[in-house]
């Protein structure tokens, strides 16, 4: 057979480039998915009653785990780039541990929410059990309500003429389901991340990564960075968009 149009090196380059592009495109699709969800959240919160929920502190630990994970997976990639499979395996394993830590902190966060009666299938706003003001705040048309002697008032209602308890008892908490939807769906994507870390670990232990071809490691690391970025986005979104 005559020489092909592309040299084997070029072929490999092209294959690697397209696998990288596919990875980016997957990330892009996931971004659109969460963009859809968060824009639904923004639309839902405008007007009517809304609960502003203080995020469980466990979610802040999650951030630490995932940011550290980003660092370790990057170190793993650096090792892989040099063809150092042992180093890669070590860092990937560490990332896996941090990933499990993230998972644990997520479950802690959900437990915390459940303990305040913020659940998947939403409760009436009056049924929430945390401390008003620190754990959650009710809003009407974007204005925080004031709690006085067990009654909720609009801040403009200085004389306390019109308690809103009866209306709050009618309203379902809509923030909780969004919180769960966003974090659980992120966690679902993270579960795939954990799986890919396992695969990467296996590959590294069998010394499959070379200086030239470590695109699997690259894609896994990229995905892990992405999950971190996505988490930070969701966290900032939930912290600042009420």
């Amino acid at each position: 057979m005559t020489q092909d149009t592309f040299t084997p090196q070029e072929e490999q380059q092209r294959a690697i480039r397209s696998r990288k592009l596919i990875t980016y495109l997957i990330l892009f699709a996931i971004v659109m998915f969460f963009a859809g969800l968060t824009s639904a959240y923004v639309v839902s919160m405008s007007g009517g009653y809304w609960t502003r929920i203080t995020l469980p502190s466990a979610f802040l630990y999650s951030t630490v785990f995932i940011v550290l994970g980003s660092v370790t997976v990057h170190l793993g990639l650096m090792a892989g780039r040099k063809g150092d499979n042992k180093g890669a395996a070590l860092w990937v394993a560490l990332t896996l541990v941090l990933g499990l830590g993230f998972t644990w902190s997520q479950f802690e966060g959900w437990k915390d929410l459940v303990s305040k009666a913020i659940s998947w299938s939403p409760n009436r706003m009056s049924k929430l059990t945390g401390t008003y003001g620190t754990d959650y705040v009710f809003q009407k048309d974007g204005v925080d309500l004031v709690l006085e002697n067990g009654n909720y008032y609009l801040p403009t209602d200085v004389d306390g003429l019109r308690p809103l308890n009866a209306e709050l008892d009618e309203q379902k908490d809509r923030t909780g389901p969004y919180l769960y939807a966003l974090t659980v769906l992120h966690m679902a994507h993270l579960a795939f991340g954990l799986l890919s870390l396992l695969v990467m670990l296996g590959m590294a232990l069998r010394a499959r990564y070379t200086k030239e071809d470590h695109v699997g490691l690259w894609a896994g690391a990229m995905y892990w960075h992405f999950l971190g970025g996505l988490w930070v986005y969701l966290l900032l979104f939930l912290l600042f968009v009420h």
Binding site: D4, T5, R19, I26, A29, F33, G48, P177, L185
Partner: protein
Amino acid sequence: MGATIAHTDGHAHAAHHHHEESFISKYIFSHDHKMISKQFLITAIVMAWVAVIMSLIFRLQLAWPGEGFAFTNFFLGDKWAPGGVLDPNMYLALVTIHGTIMVFFVLTGGLSGTFANLLIPLQVGARDMASGFLNMLSYWFFFLSSVIMLASLFVEGGPASAGWTIYPPLSVLPQSIPGSGAGMTLWLVSMTLFIASSLIGGLNYVATILNLRTKGMKMTRLPLTMWALFITAVLGILSFPVLLSAALLLLMDRSMGTSFYLSDIHIAGEALEQTGGSPVLFQHLFWFLGHPEVYIVLLPALGITSEIIATNARKAIFGYRAMIGSILAIGFLSFIVWGHHMFVTGMNPFLGSVFVFTTLLIAIPSAVKVFNYITTLWRGNIIFTPAMLFSIGLVATFIAGGLTGIILADSALDINVHDTYFVVAHFHIVMGMSAIFGMFAGIYHWFPKMYGKMMNTKLGYAHFWITFVCAFGVFFPMHFIGLAGAPRRYYSYSEFPMFNGVVDLNVLVTVFAIIGALAQVIFTYNFFYSIKRGPKAVQNPWKSNTLEWTTPVEHIHGNWPGPLPVVHRWPYDYSKPGKAEDWVSQITPLEHDEEEH
């Protein structure tokens, strides 16, 4: 993640195409793009027949409301059609599933799935898709979702019946319509798989077009089919995830008592507990996908047509760059026009005005495309293959349907025609007919490439002319029914004296629909017969310039037996002055001091 992408086919294909494959890896779980394209096509043909039969059943009901038909009873049985009289709930189920299957399974999965898979590697000069494994996955998700959609026809309560747009609360509450029970759940499961299939397919299409072009295949030398399929894939990647998010929230509303879309509802004698949600939120999310989806359906057909018109007019496509520009413009604009589906939902009038403006802007690139097609025909040397006929037919339906779009985009006019038969006429002509014509054109044109056989031309003529006449016979009168104020999705119009004047048009429409459906029997016969017994094809039957015709007739793994072809020119050098033949393949080097175009 790393694992799925790590699969590689590399460059070694050519070396081992003599390697015998098992039946399963060759025909079932094939990684070969040509086989996958055939799988998509056959699945789509089966799904299309299901949808066509559904349309015949409800067309019979609309033409002769309340009368019994053995045909109806034959397919639906005594439960849904006692005495052959269609049940009103089943009527709504049929229009819903007809729409879903046609829009998603035939014109998205069938059209893009078939031709993106077949043509992308062949026309850019690649051995296969970027990832054969993902490509196979894409088909099997599609297959599974088709099976589930068909299975939903048989559940208690019937399939989803809330319209293909599945607006809540109708789609959430089984109390409101029986189809919103198990049928709706299966619909959502099926669509989730479908979205996965489209996304996985789209990734591959984009990656292949961007990265696996052969030497010399600059972006500005790509056939217009490639440009169209490329933008289509990008639109899909951007819009389908949003539909998925909308569907997930809907699923939560259905099963977990959340109220993203529900509020203040009293139904079946009970005040529901959900408060604070908004049904309009779903519409925003849905149409953010839904409108680009229209172009996901249409663009591949326009791309296919560009290719076929140039080839068979033996003339360079007029305004190649303008054609690319208009595809890009349409793709971009399609994301900022979704609100025009919601003018009468009580949306902010100013927002409505913005959507009017952006929507009408789309008319400009569309007009450019039409004029360019017409100019390509002008002083051409036209060979009327069945593919060419369907392409010209596409231009005609694109004109007729596109123009009425201007009326619907005008919010003040939409008030009165919104959700009437006028809309049904509009989108069936501009989206349904144009896309299906593009699909037929593609099938006739690339059949020799797919199966190495020729389809029967005479049957193709009969198929085209009957279909073409019936397309207008069916959908043209619907404009008039709509302008008489008749709403869509009505089981019968006999309850309103005001529609008495136009009910006989419904009979006319149904007669044309039946004839049109019979014409599809001709096509189906021709298709399957030619696969088995058609005359053997030559390598380049249409004397076309593009790369796919430089591959051998018999399919081989890796497409080209020798090295990949090197491209030297754009694909539209038809009847170029100074050339002996009226075509010049893309692999022919430029002559000394020849200008590219």
